[in-house]
Symmetry: D2
C-alpha cells in the first residue's frame, strides 16, 4: 500500500488544506486589481501602440515614449506600495506568502505589463530571490538593490545550445579560474530579457568542476552584460515573435572574464541554487497561466455569444457549450492545484513541496494551451491573427511547456515519486539518471 | 467581461477556500479509517466468500451467514458511534458538514461494504435525507426511524423505461387520486437496491398534475415494496453484473394503491424534492470515487513494480511512468474540486453551490474511469478478470457517468451558467428546454 | 532522412495500394452476408435464448438443443460452400487471400456465432493454420482433419500465470524429455475455448531448452485435453462474464505426459511458430472489430434519432453529432488500415508485413472501444445493461487491447521500427529486450 | 439499419477501393520528386536567404533576385513538363486524376515553393479550375491563360469581416447592377495571396440577389486588383507571421465598379461555384498536409536519436517511442483516407464524393497539428524557434483547421449525413440551417 508523505497532506485538518488568502493580503490584492484596471491596462495599450510599425534593428530599442509610460506606472506603483511583493519572507519585509502571491499573480497574468509595472516580472523575480537568499553583501549592494528598485533588469543564462538542458548535468559552458578571475567560454540561448537595453546582469550557469560528482560540477556566477566577450548573436523566435526588445537571446561567451567574487554561494553549488530558484519560478509561471486561461475563456464565451451561424449563437452550436464547461472545470481544478502547491511551499518549505510544484508545472501549461486553442477555434481565422491576443497567448503558454523543464521531465519526477512511495525508498532527485538507466 | 458569482468564491479570503476538515471531525475520521481496516475489510472478505458459487434464484437471497456478519459490523459501528454521519445538520444531531463528510466518504470508497456498515450507503442516505427534511412526523416514524436504525433499506424509483430521465419532465408513471388513495401505473428500471429482501420502501417519482406547468407536474410518493401491484420484472445488469441481491430492478407499477398521506411535501413538488436530493447524492458518489481512484492507482503502481518484462519493471517501460504521474495529478485535482464543492454546499447552501456539484459530477466519474482503465491495462488480462477488483470498479464508475444525469447534461448546465454570467442573465434551471430550443 | 521500406509501399503504383476485393471472392462475400442474415442471425437468437437462465455448473455444458441448432447451421454452411475460407493458400484449396478475407471477416464481426457457423472462429483458425503449415501428416490426420470438419474444437495455451507473456522469453511451463515422452509442468490461464466439452486439443507453448539462446528455448507441443494431469482450475472472467461453456480457462499441467511425436516442427522452434500464428490471428481480430464498430455506430445513431430530451433528438443535442462524425471517420480509417495490412500480408508475406499488423493491432481495438463507449453513453444506463449488446461488445474489445500483446508492445515495435529506419539499421524483433535495456 | 450509399463503397470490388496511382502518372511522380530535390529545395533555400532581414514596407515587395530564382525554377519546370498538373480532366489536357495528384501533392507539401514552382499552388489552382470550368471564352483568354502560364497570380475573396463565413448565406458584400456595371461594396479579410505584387485578379463572392432563396443570393464575380475602390487595409497575421509579400489581406471594396461581363456563370450561382471550388481545394490542402506530417515525423525521430538526456536517446525516454508510433499510425491512416477521398472524386464526381472530402478535411489538419506539436516538444525550445520549420508548419496547419470551413462544420456535415442515412432521407446541404434550428 502507498505510504503517505507529508507533501500529500493526508491529515485533513492540516493547515495545508486552508487555501484562503490571508486577511492582511486582501487589501493588497484588491489594490493590485484596481491598479491594473485603472493604471496598467490603459498604459499598456498606449505602450503597445507606440511600439507598432517599428521595424528591423530599431525594434531592439524602446520606442520613444515607451519607457516614460512604463516608468510612470512603476513610480506610481512604488508610491502606492505595490512593489516587489513577489518576494516571500524577504529581509526587505514584504513578506507575502506564496499562497497570497498566487492569488495576486493570477491577476497579473491577465494584462500585459502588469507584472513589470509592479516589479514582479520574470526573470527578475527569480534572480532577485537568488541574490536575496545567497548573495554576499557586496553582490546585493551592486545588483540586488537596483533590481529591487526597478532601475535595471537581469537575465538567467541557463539553457545550452548543444545539450538537453532538462538534464542539469549537461551544462557545458565552462568557467576556469585564472588568477583572480573566472574565464567563461560557451554558448547559451533562450536567455529571456537579455535583449533589453535595460538588462545589465546575467546569472549564468557554468561548469567549474568537471571532476566533482555529477551534481557538484556546476556553479552560478554573475556576468555583467557589458563584459568584453559577451556576444549577443541574435534572438530566438517563439512562433515567429521575437519579443523585441526583451528578446530570448542567443549568446556566446568568448573568454569572458569576471572577478572571482562574482561566484554565487560557492563553487559547485550551482545545482543547489537552481533548485532554490526553480520552485518559485515555476509556480509563478503557473499562477499567471491561470489568469491567462481565465482571459481565454472570457474571450471564448464573448465570441460565442456575439457571433451567429446557421441561425444560432456560436456558443450553442454543436459541442461548444461542453467545450466551455470543460474549460471552466479545468480552470477551477488548476487554480486549486496551484493554490495547494503554493500553500505547500509556505507550510513545508520548497524542498518538501517540490512534488506539488512538479505536478502543477506538468499540468497547467498543457491545459491552458488547450483552452487558448479552443478559444482560437471559436474565433475562426481571427483567432490566429493579431486582432485578438490569443495567438500570442498561445505562443507564450506553448513555450512554458518547454521552459524550466519540459512537461515530460516533470511527469517523470512525479511518477517516480509515486513509485518510490510504494517502494518505501527515499532516493534523491540527483539519481534521475540512474532511474532512467534502470 | 464575466460577472463573478458567489459560487466562484472570487473573494480569496472567503471561508469557501478553507478546505480543512474541522478539528471536531478528525477523531471520527481516524476512527472510521481504523474501523474499516480492522472490522470492515476482514468482514467484507468473509461476506464475499460466503456469496461465492451461489447461482440462479438463490442469489437474490443473502447467503447463510452473510447478514449475521454484516449486522455484527453494523452493531459494532453503532456501538462505536460510527453511524449515520452522512446526514448534515440533522435533528438527530450528527451534524457532520459536507466537507467533513467528503474526507470520510473518500475512505468509504476504498472498501466494499464500508458505507453500509456505518449506515451511509446509497440510496438510503439520500432517501433518509429527504424524509428527514420533508417528511411528516408519521412518515418519519414509519420509515425514517427504521432506516436510521439500519433495520430496513429503501430504493429511489426515478428512472423511466421509455423516456430520457435526464429530462425530469419526461416522467410518465402516473398517479391519480381515487378517493383517499393514489393509484399508480407505470414502469421504471435501474431501481437500485430494490432487489434486496431487506428493501421495504420506495420513494417514487410520479406524474400527478399533467396540466400544471412543466416543473410542477411531478410528485414524490412513498410506495411500500409489498404493496399489491408492485411487480419486480427482473434485474438490469451492469457490464454483466447483476449485483444480486441488491440489484438494479426493473419494476412495473400496476394499479398500485397507496394512501393519500404517502405523498411527500405535497402534490406537484416532486421536482423540488429531486433537486434537494440530487445535490448531496451526486457529491457523495464523487467523494467515494476519489477513494476508488486512489485504490486503482495503488494497484497500478503495485503491479508496475512487481512485474517485469523485457528486463525492466513494467512501471518503467514506455510511457507508464507518465501515466502514473497523470493519474496522481488527476486524483489531487479531483479531490480538491470535490472538497471545494462540499465546502460550497456548507457555506452557500445546496442551491447556490449547484454549479460546483455539476462540475464535479461531470468531471470525476469520467476521469476515474480512465484511471481504472489504465490500471487494468497495467495488469494485462488479469485486469479484466475476477482476480482484481478493477473490472468491477470500472463497471461501477462507468455507470456513474450515466446515473443522476449523464455527463453531457452536467456539462450543459455548467456551460450554460458560464454563458449566462457573460450575458448577465439569471434564468432558472427550469428553462433548460428553452435553452436547447434556443 | 527516413529510409522507405517495402512495407510502406512508397511506390504508389504498387499492387499494395489496390485494396479491392478480388472478383472471384465477391460471390462468396455476398453469399456470406446472405447466410448471416438468413441463417445465422435467427439461429443465434434461438441459441442464446436456450442458454438463458442456466446457472452454476450446468452452464459449462451446452443447453439442450443448442448444439443441434449450431450444427445445423454448420452443416448448411458446409453444404453451401461457406466453410474454412479463412485459410489462405491452403492445400485444401480455398485460397482466400487475406484481403478478401478481411472484407468477409468484418461482416462476421457483426453477428455472434457467424464465425463459428462457417468454421472461421478463433482460436481454431490460428490452430488450424499452424497445423496446416507445420504439422506432420500424422498430426494433420489426427487433429487438423476433425478441426477442418468442425467436429472438434481446440485451444492455444500460451499465457502464463506468473510472467508477463508479452515477453515470449518469459514462458516458464517446462517440458522435459523422459524416454519417448515429454513431461509437462506449469500453469497457464486465459486459455480461450478450453472450457467447451467440444475442445479436444491444446497447442501448448512450453520451455524445452533453457540453455539455448533466448528465442530458441521455447517449443510448441500438442496436448490432448483429456491427458492425465491436465487440470482445469476454473474460468477467468472478462468484466464479470465467464463466456461459458467456451470459457477462458485457468489450467494446471501436472506431470502431463505426451508422446515425443506431439512436438510441432521441432524443439526450440516455438517462437518461430508463434510469429507465424500471431500475424493472421491479430489481423483477423481487427477485421472483426471493424464490424463491431459499424454495429456500435449503427446502434448509436439509431438511439440518437429515436429518443428525445429537452425537445430534441439526442443525436442533435450538444456534441453528439460530432461524436457520430468522429466515429464514422475512425471506422473508415481503421477499415482502410486493416485492408492495407491484409494486402501487405498477401503481397509481402507475413514477415515483411508485420509492421502493418502491429500498427492495426495497436490502433483498432483501442479506437473501437472508444466508439462502443460512446454508443453506451448515448443509450444512458441501458447501454451498460443486458438489453443492448454494447456492454458485452465493450468487454470483448477491451480484452483485445490486452490479448496477443498489449497495445503498448505493439506501439513499441512500430516506434522502434520507425527509429531503425532513420538509423538505417536492421535488427531483428528478437532484440526487443536489448532495446529496452538500451 | 444503416442504408449504404455509393459514397461508402460497400461493394468491395469497386474501383473505389483501388488506390493505386495510374501507371502513366508514375513517371511524372518520380520526376516531380527529383525536381523538388534537385531544383526546388536548393532554390528555396537561396530564395529564403534573400528574403531575410527585410523589414517594414519593403517586405511587401520581392527581394532583389527572388523572382528571378523562382521564375527560373518555373521555366525549368515548364520545360520539363512539370506544370499545371493539378487540373483534372482539363481541356488543356494534363488530365491528372485526383488520386494521381494526391500522391504528388503529398510530396509538394514537404518543401516550400514546390507547389508554386510547378504552378500548382493555392489559391490559383482553385481559381484556375473555376475559370476553366465556368469561365466564358473572354474570361479564359483574359485571366485563365496568364494564370496557366504562371505570369500572374490570383486571390479568392470569400471570408467576410463581420459574419461567420462558415455559413455561406452570411455573405454581406453587396453587388448592385448599375447600367452595365456591378457596383461592389463590402469588407473582406484573410484574402490569401492578395498582397503579392504579382496578384492581379480576385474571384469575389458577393450578394447580388437578397430576395432570392437563401442559396441563390450569392454570386461570384471577377474583380481586377487594380480597380479603383479596391483598398488593401493591411495583412492578417497567422501566429505573428504576415507571410509577406503573399499575405492574407484585409480588403475594403468601396464602390468598386466592374463590367457586367465579369460575372461568373450567372447571377445567383455563387454558392454553386463555391461548392465546385471547395471540394478540390480542401482535398489539395489535405494532400499537402500528409507531406507536412511526414516531414514533422522525420524531424521528430531525427531529433530523438541525435539528442541524449539522462544517458539515453530522447526517442527512448518515457513515452516518446509510443508517440512516434502513434504519429506513424495516424499518417498512414490519413494518407489512405485522402487517397480514398481523391479516388471517390474521380469515380463518383465531386458532388457524390463530398462526404469523403468533409471527412478528410475534418480529420487531417487537426491530427497533423498534433504531430507537429509533438515534434516541437521533442525539440525543446528550439522547436518553437525560427531554427526549425516546425513553428511555421504548426501555424499553417492550425490555420487550415479554420480555413475553408472550421473542423466543426465539417463534422456537422459528416454526422448529419450519417443520421440521414439512418433516417432514409435525402435532404440537401442547403438545409443546414434548418437542421441546426431543428
Amino acid at each position: 500500500m502507498s505510504k503517505p508523505t507529508p507533501a500529500f497532506g493526508f491529515n485533513p485538518t492540516d493547515e495545508l488544506n486552508d487555501l484562503r488568502m490571508s486577511a492582511k493580503a486582501l487589501p493588497l490584492y484588491e489594490h493590485v486589481k484596481r491598479f491594473i484596471t485603472e493604471t496598467v491596462a490603459p498604459m499598456a495599450e498606449k505602450y503597445e501602440a507606440l511600439g507598432k510599425n517599428r521595424v528591423g534593428e530599431e525594434r531592439w530599442q524602446y520606442a520613444p515614449g515607451q519607457l516614460e509610460l512604463l516608468n510612470a506606472a512603476k513610480d506610481q506603483a512604488k508610491k502606492e506600495g505595490l512593489w516587489n511583493f513577489f518576494l516571500p519572507d524577504a529581509e526587505t519585509g514584504e513578506g507575502l506568502s506564496n499562497l497570497d502571491y498566487a492569488y495576486i499573480a493570477s491577476e497579473l497574468g491577465k494584462v500585459p505589463l502588469a507584472s513589470e509595472s509592479m516589479n514582479c516580472s520574470a526573470p527578475d523575480t527569480g534572480n532577485m530571490e537568488v541574490l536575496e537568499r545567497v548573495g554576499t553583501p557586496e553582490q546585493k549592494e551592486r545588483w540586488l538593490k537596483p533590481l529591487l528598485n526597478g532601475e535595471i533588469r537581469s537575465a538567467y543564462a541557463m539553457t545550452e545550445v548543444h545539450h538537453a538542458s532538462s538534464d542539469a548535468k549537461n551544462v557545458a559552458t565552462s568557467a576556469v579560474l585564472d588568477g583572480d578571475e573566472w574565464v567563461i567560454n560557451g554558448e547559451k540561448h533562450y536567455i529571456s530579457g537579455a535583449g533589453s537595453p535595460r538588462c545589465k546582469i546575467f546569472i549564468t550557469m557554468v561548469r567549474t568542476s568537471p571532476d566533482a560528482p555529477a551534481h557538484k560540477q556546476q556553479s552560478m556566477i554573475l556576468v555583467p552584460k557589458d563584459t568584453p566577450g559577451v556576444k549577443i548573436v541574435g534572438a530566438m523566435h517563439v512562433f515567429a515573435e521575437d519579443h523585441a526588445p526583451h528578446g530570448h537571446m542567443h549568446i556566446v561567451f568568448d573568454n569572458v572574464r569576471v572577478p572571482k567574487s562574482n561566484m554565487l554561494l560557492g563553487e559547485g553549488r550551482g545545482f543547489e541554487i537552481s533548485q532554490l530558484r526553480l520552485g518559485p519560478g515555476r509556480i509563478h509561471h503557473c499562477m499567471r497561466s491561470i489568469g491567462a486561461a481565465e482571459k481565454a475563456l472570457d474571450l471564448m464565451v464573448e465570441r460565442g455569444i456575439s457571433r451567429e451561424a446557421f441561425g444560432k449563437q456560436l456558443a450553442w452550436l454543436g459541442g461548444n457549450v461542453e467545450i466551455i464547461s470543460r474549460a471552466r472545470i479545468e480552470i477551477e481544478s488548476m487554480r486549486l492545484m496551484v493554490l495547494k502547491a503554493a500553500k505547500a511551499m509556505d507550510v513545508l518549505g520548497n524542498r518538501e513541496a517540490r512534488q506539488w510544484v512538479h505536478m502543477v508545472k506538468a499540468m497547467v501549461p498543457e491545459r491552458v494551451c488547450k483552452i487558448i486553442d479552443q478559444a482560437i477555434q471559436m474565433h475562426g481565422a481571427l483567432g490566429v491573427s493579431q486582432h485578438t491576443p490569443l495567438a500570442h497567448m498561445y505562443a507564450q503558454q506553448r513555450t512554458l511547456r518547454l521552459a524550466d523543464g519540459p512537461d515530460e521531465v516533470h511527469h517523470l519526477v512525479v511518477g517516480r515519486n509515486e513509485i518510490r512511495m510504494h517502494e518505501g525508498s527515499k532516493e534523491d532527485d540527483a539519481s534521475m539518471a540512474a532511474v532512467f538507466r534502470n
